[in-house]
């Protein structure tokens, strides 16, 4: 079901001058641009309400774009129905409500692999249990009964079921204990290692910058800074102005 592996000199995802919002005439994104290249982990940081979630929702087709463009593997996906996004090789883990709580863990995974042949789905599920051994124990349990960290694992595994080339994660660390955050981010590195690019929206700037290749700082609906993880981490003004976490970054 996943798209053919594209040429690696075209960005996986390119967002250019995107204007988008929930209601007409109230743009939340006001000309945002970003790019995710082959094999990259790209972080999107920014204060609460900056429009980070709106950005990934717009890519997923859940928020209408007014102008600008969204290219996946060089082809515009503007106006694409949300349910066709997985077919382009892009998987998305929303910030909230990212698992079907009334479905079992295994059913969540099955739905993630929708459309593929059943044998392939079973194979993928086994692969997910290998990646997240905890989940195998809870396979028959309703996902709503898992802990926050375990649910996040289900959400990521569900997204990976579609064999995406690009994984978009919206604040996967929200509400998790530091140990759990470390574990999730460790998994992200493992996922990247098998060739999946990652667009990582985060509040937890320190953790995100530590694993990303590049990062963007979003504020007032536009990207204000772009740089390598190390550069952004080292820049005190960025921390002070936009991440509201100077002390945390420095510590």
């Amino acid at each position: 079901m996943s798209a053919a592996k594209p040429r690696s000199d075209v960005p996986h995802l390119a967002v250019t001058d995107l204007v988008a919002g929930y209601v007409p005439d109230v743009p939340i994104l006001r000309g945002a641009s970003l790019r995710v290249d082959d094999g990259e982990i790209v972080a999107v940081l920014g204060p609460n309400g900056a429009g980070k979630s709106t950005l990934v929702k717009a890519v997923a087709g859940l928020v209408p774009a007014r102008s600008g463009d969204i290219l996946v593997h060089g082809a515009s996906i503007l106006g694409l129905a949300t349910h066709k996004l997985v077919g382009t090789g892009v998987a998305y883990v929303p910030q909230v409500g990212n698992v079907f709580t009334r479905l079992s863990v295994e059913e969540n995974l099955e739905l993630g692999g929708l459309g593929g042949p059943p044998s392939r789905t079973r194979q993928r599920i086994a692969g997910m249990y290998a990646l997240f051994p905890d989940l195998a124990r809870f396979r028959r349990l309703a996902a709503g009964r898992l802990s926050g960290g375990q649910r996040q694992m289900v959400a990521v595994a569900r997204a990976l079921m579609a064999e995406p080339h690009l994984l978009m994660l919206d604040e996967p660390s929200a509400g998790l204990s530091p140990r759990m955050v470390e574990l999730v981010f460790q998994k992200l590195l493992e996922i990247r290692a098998v060739g999946v690019s990652i667009l990582l929206v985060e509040q937890n700037a320190k953790a995100a910058l530590a694993i990303c290749d590049r990062g963007y700082v979003l504020a007032e609906g536009r990207e204000r800074f772009e740089g390598s993880g190390r550069d952004l981490l080292a820049s005190p003004e960025i921390g002070a102005l936009y991440l509201g976490a100077t002390t945390r970054l420095a510590s």
Partner: protein, 296 residues
């Protein structure tokens, strides 16, 4: 006592078959359809039309009808589903595309209900009608007397509930339906075509309603308001069962059916419809989430 239980289970069968569609539509399209009762009636009348053309000669194993009725039942199930699909396309879908409020959808379903019922009157008149008249001696099962037609209703309903369970728990489409009813936007993100799920919801909901209509018609009679009279018990069953769960609705239907039978036997048959209302009010006051419902 056994007789009351038996009558209750028979009454519950029709509610069960109707409430499945009501509950699915409620959970997937997010509004209580006031037309679900009348979908039961249209199903019964479609089958009646087919029987009028094909006849229902003979009688199978003590039942009041012959094989043509089985054929009519199957055709009515499909045609009734298609009718619901047509209504969705031309009305509800248009409202969804306009982001209409839930209240508008409820009002529209109210309008659809009256249109369907009166289209029936227009085409078939007010008078009660019957599928067949063959004599059927009542059976005695464990001390309860039950006609073969009623027994068939219970058996068919049980089969349908089992089939529904297998469908929802084993098939991709069934799981997709559960997914859409819980979280439509995550379902879309997952690659589920929500419009397709909605189409199947109408087909299944109205299809089962047609089966309810035919069985009810065999058990009692066919008349234009036969389905509308089931609407309140169906709402009650859905609410008692916790709204979010089809299984809860099925249990709720059993409860309402037995409560109705108790009222008919021991209290006052003429207040049968009021029972559903009382049960609903009691449940909502005691547990706003219903019996099997989860906290929102």
């Amino acid at each position: 006592m056994i007789q009351v239980l038996a009558d209750g289970v028979v009454a519950a069968s029709f509610i069960v078959l109707g409430v499945v569609g009501l509950s699915m539509i409620y959970n997937i399209l997010n509004f209580p359809s006031f037309a679900q009762g009348d979908h039961i009636a249209t199903g019964a009348y479609i089958a009646l039309g087919i029987v009028a053309l094909a006849g229902t000669a003979g009688s199978i194993a003590g039942l009041s009808f012959g094989w043509p009725l089985i054929g009519a039942l199957i055709c009515a199930t499909i045609l009734n589903g298609l009718l619901a699909l047509l209504i969705d396309r031309s009305i509800y879908r248009q409202l969804r595309l306009r982001n209409a409020s839930r209240i508008s959808l409820i009002m529209a379903s109210f309008g659809v209900a009256l249109m369907l019922r009166n289209l029936i009157v227009l085409l078939a008149g007010h008078d009660p009608q019957y599928y067949a008249f063959a004599i059927q001696p009542a059976l005695s099962i464990g001390g309860a007397r039950i006609t073969p037609n009623d027994l068939l209703a219970v058996i068919v309903t049980t089969m349908m509930v089992v089939a529904l369970h297998l469908f929802l728990s084993r098939t991709t489409l069934g799981k997709s339906m559960r997914a859409v009813s819980e979280n439509p936007s995550l379902a879309r993100v997952n690659g589920i075509d929500v419009d397709r799920v909605i189409r199947w919801t109408w087909l299944i909901g109205a299809g089962l309603a047609a089966i309810a209509g035919v069985l009810l018609g065999l058990s009692v009679q066919v008349n234009p308001s036969m389905g509308f009279e089931l609407l309140l018990p169906m709402f009650a069953a859905m609410i008692v069962g916790g709204v979010t769960s089809v299984y809860g609705a099925v249990l709720g239907a059993l409860l309402i059916g037995v409560a109705e039978a108790i009222t008919v036997h021991y209290i006052a048959p003429e207040y049968r419809q009021a029972v559903a209302f009382l049960v609903v009010i009691l449940v909502l006051l005691a547990r706003p989430q219903g019996i099997l419902g989860e906290k929102a």
